[in-house]
Amino acid sequence: MRKTKLATAKFLAKSHFKADPGLREVYLLEPVNEHDPNEPIKLLEVVKGTLERGVEPIGFAADPGRGIDYPFWIVELSPKEYRGIREKTLHFGEYVWTVGKQLVAR
């Protein structure tokens, strides 16, 4: 049975904390549309030492063989960039996202 997007996001966050020593915080970007499997999960990742390039989503394909049933986007920001976000809102082109639930390493 397919996991929910929230469960998949939690799974992704855990694996990213293991893979990236610079990763400090992960947040789910909302809205999350659980009804459309083609709409990507969006994760905001705060990474120490990352290049500061603003809001720049990078896409990844679903990979059911690895437990990832949905495509996902990662928006990576430095801690300084993250502190500069106003009203917990991110803008990218036509998209407006709100910083939602924090996802933890364990």
Partner: protein, 165 residues
Amino acid sequence: MTATDADWARAYAKQALSDLRAREALIAANVEKCHRLHFLQMAAEKICKASLVKTHGHDQVRRTHACVQKQLPNIAREVFSKNKGTKTQNWQMNSIRRFAREIELVAPACDAADTREDNSEYPWLDAQGTVQTPCEYSFPDINDGDKMIVQLIRLIRSAAEDIVR
């Protein structure tokens, strides 16, 4: 009018950025892994060529294919040092080196001295004598959902934009 090395470097850098846009479009279209890897490899190769053209000139570089593994770590050091003095950490360099090698081997021209025939474009004969097709192959040596690809793509974009500017 004679094309300069700077013209060539800018052209390679623009193409690297376009290759990355193509990768994003292909992910949105849910295409096979070989195509996603292909455009990542192409972008990496173009930015490495852009960087090499700047230092060695276009004539020395244009027929080079196997340049990613060697040049991408150099580009990383340069880009990170320009980014407000950020230094690359050992783990960052290690992941860049690891991906640079695997991505380079995705190109059909690079086969690690005949030990790796898998590539993103053309069918090949595997060790069991079976014809493998890129669009059906899993490319088990590269996880293209790996989080560290974010770092790699942001590095390529930063370097390319610096050259295009």
